[in-house]
């Protein structure tokens, strides 16, 4: 099974638009939206939901005021500044609580409940391009890394069941917990960059992260004509690190027009940029050896 994940470091470089186009061109893959925090791929794929399950992960501490003796030990122990006194009773701020259980275990009055909490919902859906595994983290919740791991596992199971050899994932921005969870053990990371100071800076960090996890990398320069200077700098960087440059795409509002129509770019326009994306996809197929292994 081959797992290709589309990443960028910097947000807004075009991960989702390109993932949708790749899903269109792949012609038979399990598609996976790993940006569980702010998922957008479904806006292009209009999924028909087949199954849905709550994602329960971690616990939330809660003080029962009627059993609290007001000693304040919990406030001293909490490293997350999640407990503060209000009306002479300590209260836990659920947005700051990390569910570590320290206060629960050491409360002399055993006045703190510790209940499992729902952090999101995950879905198995059907789309015109293939099955989609996706989720939505409840806004302001945590454990996105665990939800990402769960989605990847479900996507692989589904691929096996449907005898599909490719899992194609739209990854989250950044280099932290959900990105690491999206990346570790993947066959190939396709990084969508842009020729700006931020794009270059963040590309270096995400490439370093991929190296750290020994995941092969290919780079796409999107909005390529915005800066000749930064375009050249990214090319030089890829050259120095012997990273294949999969292709460049121009700064073009056709990407947004396609989003507005709820289509992948390759569905929306017949040639031009669509041809460029086809060439990039062919390079990805060659690099990940898609179609040659099962």
């Amino acid at each position: 099974m081959i797992e290709v994940v589309v990443l960028s470091g910097k947000g807004g470089t075009g991960k989702t638009s390109l993932t949708a186009a790749f899903a269109h061109l792949a012609n038979g893959s399990v598609i996976c939206d790993l940006d569980v925090d702010a998922p957008d791929l479904h806006l292009l794929l209009q999924p028909r939901q087949m199954a849905s399950e709550p994602f329960i992960s971690g616990h939330e501490a809660r003080i029962r005021a009627e059993h609290c003796n007001g000693c304040g030990l919990c406030m001293t122990l909490c490293r997350f500044n999640a407990i503060a006194e209000s009306d002479a009773v300590p209260r836990i701020d659920p947005l700051r609580c990390e569910g570590c259980k320290t206060c629960v275990a050491l409360c002399p009055s055993q006045a703190i409940d510790f209940n499992p909490k729902q952090c999101g919902q995950w879905y198995l859906s059907q789309t015109r391009m293939g099955p989609l595994v996706h989720a939505q983290l409840i806004p302001a919740e945590e454990n996105s890394g665990r939800l990402v791991a769960l989605l990847r596992q479900k996507a692989k199971e589904l691929a096996q069941e449907r005898q599909l050899s490719l899992v194609l994932s739209d990854g989250p921005p950044g280099i932290g917990c959900p990105v690491i969870s999206s990346l570790a053990g993947a066959s190939l990371a396709v990084i969508v960059s842009e020729p700006t100071p931020s794009g270059e800076h963040d590309l270096v960090r995400i490439v370093d992260l991929c190296d750290h996890f020994q995941v092969p990398v290919g780079v796409i320069i999107n909005k390529a004509d915005l800066s000749v200077d930064y375009h050249r700098r990214i090319e030089t960087f890829c050259d120095e690190r012997t990273i294949p440059l999969l292709g460049s795409l121009p700064f073009d509002t056709v990407f947004i027009e396609a989003v507005v129509k709820g289509r992948a770019v390759t569905e929306y326009v017949p040639d031009g940029i669509a041809d460029d994306i086809r060439r990039i996809w062919a390079a990805i197929e060659a690099m990940a050896k898609i179609g040659t292994t099962v």
């Binding site: 302001a140 280099i175 370093d208």
Partner: protein
């Protein structure tokens, strides 16, 4: 006054806006990059860095001579960072959240504090204003602990000399984003009028509304085809503070490392007005409600 510049969707223009607000801000300022996974603000503001420090997280270190393998630490740990197997204690320090629970429950004092590097904190000056940022170590999964260290440093800087604060927050709506905005006085949500922009604005609004802080919206790339962000804002009583037009020259200026309010002088009054709008939003929110007759 602390202003947090946030967004659900990445790449909507948080850094662009933070840099331009910095440029027009009248009062003394500390500008903070809390997007520690991918900090970018320094690339545009070119601060003179005067200090750096490795930020660390407290993790347990086992003293095998004192441990009697009772397993209380492993029972408590919610993050599978410490395990007791027979007469072996295994720590998986990269999983540790630094809650200190294992150290607190150990009956024999067999755990002492060690540390894991989270990343680097850097601070310095930009002209007469101050700058602060965090950069997560590549390979480190947890950004909120580093953000907490940066916020402590910010408190220190503010107690040395009071100032307004502009925070460039990370994208998203989960723990890192909430962590970045939770101590601010006002949240400026940057979005774009595309279906992605609107969808993620909705998520961000939902996430941050729980904090009960005044919020306003800046629509970047206004004029792009797509969803009507205005309708959403109107229906949800979110004030639209400004619209930055979709203009290739803005994208090119940003791509050249320019601060829009400086490199495109004709837009400077626009950003000054926006700064005033943000102030007004905080001040009106601070006014107690009165029933008018």
């Amino acid at each position: 006054m602390k202003v947090a510049v946030a967004s659900g969707k990445g790449g909507t223009g948080k850094t662009l806006l933070s840099a331009s607000l910095f440029s027009v801000w009248k009062d003394p300022l500390v500008v903070v990059d809390l997007d520690v996974e991918e900090p970018n603000l320094h690339l545009f503001l070119n601060p003179e860095i005067s200090g750096t420090r490795t930020a660390e997280l407290e993790i347990p270190v086992v003293d095998a001579a004192k441990c009697d393998y009772c397993g209380k630490c492993a029972q408590l740990c919610q993050f599978k960072a410490i395990n007791v197997l027979g007469e072996v204690v295994l720590t998986f320090t990269e999983m540790c959240h630094g809650c200190g629970g294992c150290l607190a429950v150990c009956p024999r004092g067999a755990l002492t504090s060690g540390s894991r590097p989270l990343g680097e904190m850097r601070w310095g000056r930009i002209g007469s204003d101050r700058f602060l940022m965090g950069a997560l170590r590549v390979g480190e999964a947890m950004s909120p602990p580093l953000m907490r260290v940066v916020k402590q440093k910010l408190q220190g800087m503010l107690s040395e000399a009071a100032a307004d604060v502009i925070i460039d927050a990370p994208p998203g709506v989960s723990c890192p984003a909430v962590n970045a905005v939770m101590d601010s006085d006002v949240i400026v949500l940057v979005t774009e009028p595309t279906p992605f922009g609107l969808h993620d604005l909705r998520l961000a609004h939902e996430a941050f509304a729980q904090l009960g802080k005044p919020m306003g919206v800046v629509i970047n790339r206004a004029g792009l085809p797509g969803s009507d962000v205005d309708d959403y804002c109107r229906a949800n009583h979110l004030r639209v503070l400004a619209k930055i037009p979709f203009d290739r020259r803005i994208a090119e200026t940003y791509a050249a490392g320019g601060v829009i309010a400086e490199a495109m002088g004709e837009l400077r009054p626009f950003f000054s007005d926006l700064a005033d709008q943000i102030r007004t939003l905080v001040e009106t929110a601070a006014q107690p409600l009165e029933i008018s007759r």
